[in-house]
């Protein structure tokens, strides 16, 4: 896999079918209906328990707006991922082009996915910092690999945003 900046887009070239599938799973990974832990993390409380009124108004007015914001970012990513649905050669390596204008949406969706997966599996800080763990052992290990792979992409996008601050 190669990852580079190409004019006004970020290109992930030579994306093998396994990594392409992990990227295709981003929209599903952020679906918090399947995991109360993920829902709790993505929509965490804005204050301590003593702030009952603030917390209840937050749930009423702010959470729906945050949900719309997150869904909008995920939808942008889902549309970019359409490039990976190649029916002619399903097992061939492919290229994903992310327009720089979509960088914020990708950062948000990748972060949603990482947080939701980590909350669902309740990964420890030690596990999250263990980058040499095999991804093939279990579904949990695969989840950890996803978190790290998405983090790698986030780092790349952040680097490119920092390199061209006027374009973010």
């Amino acid at each position: 896999m190669e990852i580079c900046r190409q004019n006004e887009s970020l290109e992930i070239r030579e994306l093998d079918p396994f990594l392409a599938e992990l990227l295709r799973q981003i929209p599903d990974s952020v679906d918090t209906k399947k995991s109360p832990a993920a829902e709790e993390r993505l929509f965490s409380a804005p204050a301590g328990a003593e702030e009952k009124e603030f917390r209840s108004e937050w749930k009423l007015y702010i959470v729906p707006e945050l949900r719309r914001l997150f869904q909008s970012a995920t939808e942008t990513v889902r549309q970019d991922l359409e490039q990976l649905h190649c029916k002619k050669k399903p097992f061939a390596n492919c290229t994903l082009r992310i327009p720089l204008a979509h960088a914020d949406a990708w950062l948000n969706a990748l972060n949603q996915a990482r947080l939701a997966i980590a909350a669902s599996y309740n990964f420890t800080e030690h596990e999250l910092s263990d980058h040499f763990r095999s991804p093939l052992g279990s579904r949990r290990d695969l989840g950890l690999f996803q978190v790290n792979f998405y983090g790698f992409l986030q780092e790349f996008i952040l680097r490119e945003i920092a390199a061209c601050p006027d374009e973010d």
Partner: protein
């Protein structure tokens, strides 16, 4: 805290970075505005606290602090490291309404942020 105000704040969640536009021109008659402190301003300030989260990347957190608070990179990194090492950092202190807005913006970036009364 009225529902209308809360709705107004909610709308601003998707407008993460809004800068005031200052029109250039000549002001012939200066208007002297009296500064009036509201009840909320007189009361103790509120802190915007960001809590540690092992999932969020350090570079991402730094970028969010720069964007939300307009802090220079060095200051943003200092707060990020404080969150990482001490578990929490007070990013801003002041009137409650603004503190709530900052927390809202930080949640839009998926950071663990809360408000709490200072002192």
């Amino acid at each position: 805290m009225s529902g209308q105000r809360r709705e107004d704040e909610a709308r601003s969640a998707s407008q993460l970075m809004e800068y005031p536009v200052i029109a250039q021109g000549t002001i012939e008659t200066p208007t002297v505005e009296k500064e009036v402190a509201t009840k909320g301003e007189i009361q103790a300030p509120w802190n915007v606290v960001v809590h540690n989260d092992p999932v969020n990347l350090m570079t991402y957190v730094t970028m969010v602090f720069q964007r939300v608070f307009g802090y220079p990179r060095e200051r943003a990194e200092k707060h990020m490291l404080e969150v990482h090492q001490k578990g929490r950092s007070i990013l801003w202190s002041g009137v409650r309404e603004r503190a709530e807005l900052y927390v809202q913006q930080l949640h839009a970036y998926l950071l663990l942020a809360t408000i709490e009364k200072a002192g």
